[in-house]
Amino acid sequence: MSRSHILVRIAAVAFVCAYFVFLLAPIVVMVPASFTAHDILSFPPDQLSMRWYSEVLNSREWLDSAAMSLEIAIVSMVIATVTGVLVGFVVYHYGPLGSGLRLLLLSPMLVPHIVVATGLFQVLVPMRLLGDPWVLAIAQAAMALPVTVILSIAAFDAIERSLWTAASTLGARWHQITIKVMLPIAATSIVASLILSFENSWHEVTLAVFVGPAVQATLPSKMFSFLLQESTPALAAVSTLLLVITLVCAAILGLLSIRRRRNEAQPTSEEP
């Protein structure tokens, strides 16, 4: 290996390390800080306690926010995933989407959230819909569409075209084929899509701050306004709780990808 080659390698490794340190540092600071017994955020904590967790979990305000976040995230998740699956069915039956439609569905990925948020704000004010949880759920679902659509198209594209005809000749009607054949095959992608669109809404800040409910705000929105006023270790505790939920979601996704590799292979061509 040449010298310049080695240097490039070292630089690449260093870059990746720095990248991860940068990404993980806030978490490394936040988690221990949440276990402090003091009134102010400090790192490292000199005295460990669950004080701020009990404060957060006993606070009406935080719990209401969490409930609001959860409701919106679930509605948003269902809308985004169902739409994604429907697009998947269209692609399965009628072939690839036209480039215009594809671009439209993927555009939320390209447009900055802040642009969507300010645009929505101006539309929603005259309609007196600002702060409506349903509107926020729909807006967040739209932002999650690129992910759910891509996952769903990939899943349905991989399903053999004659599988539908096969199930149909075996006596199954369209709804039976959908429920008993297609959805189970696409199940891993659908679950992944549910998790990712849930996550998308669960930690989304920009839209929540601009057009979301104000009095009973979603959790990220509430954290943002809380941070502007005071910065107690309660914030670290909430962050850590959010982190745990995200890790659980990531773990489920990881397990899904293993299951998928094992169970969705075609028969091999060699004979035993």
Binding site: S162, T169, L170, Q176, N263, A265, Q266, E271
Partner: protein, 369 residues
């Protein structure tokens, strides 16, 4: 030959003389994809218990024909009847057809046994009866040991066996096979061909089998229908189609053929071909200027000495030794001929001058396309 099929008679005579029902009758079927007509006014019947192969090159419309019978494509014109019942507009799930596809169509999230149980599950068959029928079907295709495996854990041949079991377990009225062995290797294809044939005979279920493999068609079928450009080119038992093809295209499509253009005027059992040579042929004058003498390679005799059935001079161009027989490419009458001779008989060398010929009864006059 098309005419007998067009009548779509509900009763026809089997070779044994007993009357058999028509399982499938297709009448004046036309299917268009935009400007392109995939099938043109095609008529066809399948008798009860018959294994009919639809053979044709790719793009001939044979898959469209099968999809029409399956109900996944609808006809622009024409009718389809199953045992007299009009199913032209009937959706696939009501047609009681067992179909096996070229691509693997097992449900990957279900075990082999669960796959086979699927049609019974849909029909809400009693659980105990389901178990019994699935066990029977598994046994029939020899997959009892693989019952609880997932499709990813079995081989391609086993997958097609499972698909076959799934297609027969609910006792379909007819069976459709869409190149079911297309994805498998040669040796396996042979075994499965035999299994499909014996299964079909045991169940006495009419079967419409689509393939582009003429050897497969010949070895499986009661009757072969050759489709070309969306129309029926020929219809008959394998022997008949091989021995007396309608034209040079059919002769070349079904096996190898030596076709020598001639004016078709018979004189003392001979016709004139290129180089003003007079070659023996059976039958009568064809009455068409565009005719050909057909000699199958296995009827072409090659000899080092001139003799009764070896009267024309030829030059060996290439010898292909295949074990039980060898194929010899020869230059004669200004064209290239192929002879198939016994693998044990004399070895010919490239460039060697030989004599060739055939018995008059081994050559016929056919139309030249």
């Amino acid at each position: 030959m098309d005419d007998t099929a067009t009548n779509g008679a509900t009763l026809s005579r089997s070779p044994a003389g007993t009357s058999v029902k028509t399982a499938i009758s297709i009448e004046n079927l036309t299917v268009r994809y935009g400007e392109f007509a995939a099938l043109k006014n095609l008529s066809l019947t399948v008798a009860d218990g018959e294994l009919l192969t639809v053979l044709g090159p790719s793009g001939s419309g044979k898959s469209t024909l099968l999809n029409i019978v399956a109900g996944s494509v609808f006809a622009d014109e024409g009718r389809i009847r199953f045992e007299g019942l009009d199913v032209t507009h009937m959706p696939p799930h009501k047609r009681r057809i067992g179909m096996v596809f070229q691509r693997y169509t097992l449900f990957l999230n279900r075990t082999v046994a669960e796959n086979i149980a699927f049609p019974l599950e849909i029909r809400k068959t009693d659980k105990d009866i389901q178990k019994k029928l699935v066990a029977e079907a598994l046994d029939m295709v020899g997959l009892t040991a693989q019952a609880s495996r997932y499709p990813s854990q079995i081989s391609g041949g086993q997958a097609q066996r499972a698909a076959l079991a799934r297609a027969v377990v609910f006792k379909p009225a007819i069976m459709l096979m869409d190149e079911p062995l297309g994805a498998l290797d040669r040796a396996l294809r042979k075994t499965l061909q035999y299994e499909i044939r014996s299964l079909q005979q045991r169940l006495r279920v009419p079967m419409l089998y689509v393939t582009h493999d003429q050897e497969e068609a010949m070895s499986l079928s009661d009757r072969i229908v050759i489709v070309r450009d969306g129309k029926i080119y020929a219809d008959g038992p394998p022997r008949e189609l091989y021995r007396s093809p309608r034209s040079t295209w059919g002769a070349n499509f079904l096996g190898d053929a030596n076709c020598l253009p001639t004016d078709g005027v018979l004189n003392h059992g001979r016709v004139e071909v290129a180089d003003s040579q007079l070659v023996p042929v059976s039958g009568q004058s064809s009455g068409s200027k565009k005719s050909s003498v057909l000699v199958r390679p296995e009827n072409l005799q090659v000899s080092r000495t001139s003799g009764n059935n070896a009267e024309f001079k030829a030059e060996v161009e290439w010898v292909e030794y295949l074990g039980p027989f060898q194929k010899i490419r020869l230059k004669c009458f200004g064209t290239e001929l192929v002879a198939q001779v016994n693998g044990q008989s004399g070895d010919f060398a490239k460039g060697e001058h030989v004599f060739i010929g055939w018995r008059g009864e081994d050559a016929i006059l056919i139309e030249q396309d």
